[in-house]
Symmetry: C2
């Protein structure tokens, strides 16, 4: 199966599982489940879940239930988008071409829908049935750390906000992005490998892969914000420059940023050498992350 | 030791442990840790942690590390206060006599500090060292459920917001408060009992205790909002009536609400009969919850 067939198939599998894991709108109080589902099913690319599933496949032919772990990661990602879009934070009206959560459900419900998605992510991991309790605890711990303040997603978000208008330096840029997007992308492959019973060395190799594609992903994200239109992105383009964010193009310029993205992609490929052909799909995904247009 | 000596001693133990568990302000990014600590150390009564610790003592003489589980509960409680106080939700400027988190750190940081406290609660449980992995997974699952949307804290908060201005009925009142405050108070005693290795019957008995004091707690909370001044409460009094919230005094009147609080307290006492003198401290805490003035 080529990537163009594989991706929509995986996206559909993830969406079917998310639909089963999140309480229906008919469960009281319905509005919160409606708000959670609105953002979960707003057409995300499911990069984190797919990375998780493929990392599991790279270490084992059969990882029952890994799709649930993949969905927990998507819940964390979606909560972070809902809260980031709030007026007090990035104040975005559109996300993936649709009105943001607070524009549809109001700010109060958007805050609570984010809280609920964050909470249910841990519940999903705790309720996994095909993983030992020891592995589950480790996965929960890693997800919490990757989402947290010290080197994790929230820490990166804070550094990003505080960095606005500051002198952009390479060191600051690196630390912001490793935390803000890198930590969860890295956790996505790690949790997949852990779920599948990966060895220390396997988890370690995939972890390096996650770091490099995490960095590549963010560099490309920054480039797209400069080069693409709002229509193509489904969100407001050019916001980084407007908000004086510390970005790769701001620090290195566009040409050098393109080079850096390719370099990180090459590095990501090399970390997969130990897996041989088993990791072919992860290689394709790494290439896709660098060559995407939105 | 009498209760007047016991409570400040326990509060100090909880605060010392919280101080050890939450990253210091010197850890980057400092602002988020400062914001988390501001609300965590704003003089809470530590009812949930103390219930957790005492539930553990009721089933076992020695529960090493239960104070960490107690702190995880306080992190969840504090995150919920920070988010509830936001302008988009209850829009409160004062909490425990001090400016609310967003008044000091701004709305963006308050959203993120709440997210971070919610996240670290699960990390703390996952990192417990004196509890089996099976128990930890169960505790994480119960905490997530008690904090979540279906019968949990977020669900209660949503129902509470949506209930504003609606016809107050006994059934609606009951379902809101069981979820909004009851679920986490019940989880506090359950997690303490689980941490201590309590049997199925012990956890069950303490669970009933938690339900009754949870209800008593909320009835008294509603009564205090009517009877006490803002100064005494450390937050804006009379807000429930102003916001047309569904409260016990609104549904039953003040006199009947007082009676109901005493009744729930009596019921809570009876659930402890099986523990004999071991549960004396929990009995005192139940009485305190009903007779408190703030």
């Amino acid at each position: 199966m080529n990537l163009a067939e594989y991706l929509p198939e995986q996206q559909e599998l993830v969406e079917t599982e998310l639909d089963a894991l999140i309480p229906p709108e008919s469960a009281a109080p319905g509005t919160i489940h409606q708000a959670m589902r609105y953002s979960l099913f707003a057409g995300g690319k499911r990069i984190r879940p797919i990375l998780c599933i493929e990392a599991a496949r790279t270490v084992s032919d059969d990882s029952p239930g890994v799709i649930k772990t993949a969905c927990a990661l998507e819940c964390i990602h979606t909560y972070s988008l809902i809260h980031d879009d709030l007026p007090a934070l990035d104040n975005d009206d559109y996300r993936r071409g649709k009105p943001t959560n607070h524009k549809v459900f109001g700010e109060a419900m958007a805050v609570l829908a984010g809280d609920a998605l964050l909470t249910i992510a841990f519940q999903i991991l705790a309720e996994l049935t095909n993983v030992s309790a020891e592995r589950k605890v480790r996965m929960i711990r890693e997800l919490a750390t990757a989402s947290g303040t010290v080197g994790g997603m929230i820490g990166g978000q804070v550094a990003d906000i505080q960095g606005e208008g500051q002198q952009p330096t390479a060191a600051l840029l690196d630390s912001i992005h490793r935390a803000k997007t890198g930590a969860l992308l890295r956790a996505s492959v790690r949790l997949g490998a852990l779920h599948a019973g990966g060895t220390h060395d396997e988890v370690g190799a995939l972890s390096c892969f996650g770091e490099h594609i995490g960095l590549a992903f963010q560099i490309v994200d920054d480039i797209l914000d400069v080069e693409e239109s709002s229509d193509a992105l489904g969100k407001t383009a050019g916001k980084d420059a407007h908000q004086q964010k510390i970005t790769f193009p701001a620090v290195y310029g566009l040409e050098r940023s393109h080079e850096m993205a390719r370099l990180e992609c090459d590095r990501a490929h090399r970390t997969l050498d130990v897996f041989g052909q088993r990791a072919d799909r992860l290689r394709e995904i790494a290439d896709l992350i660098v060559h995407r247009k939105s």
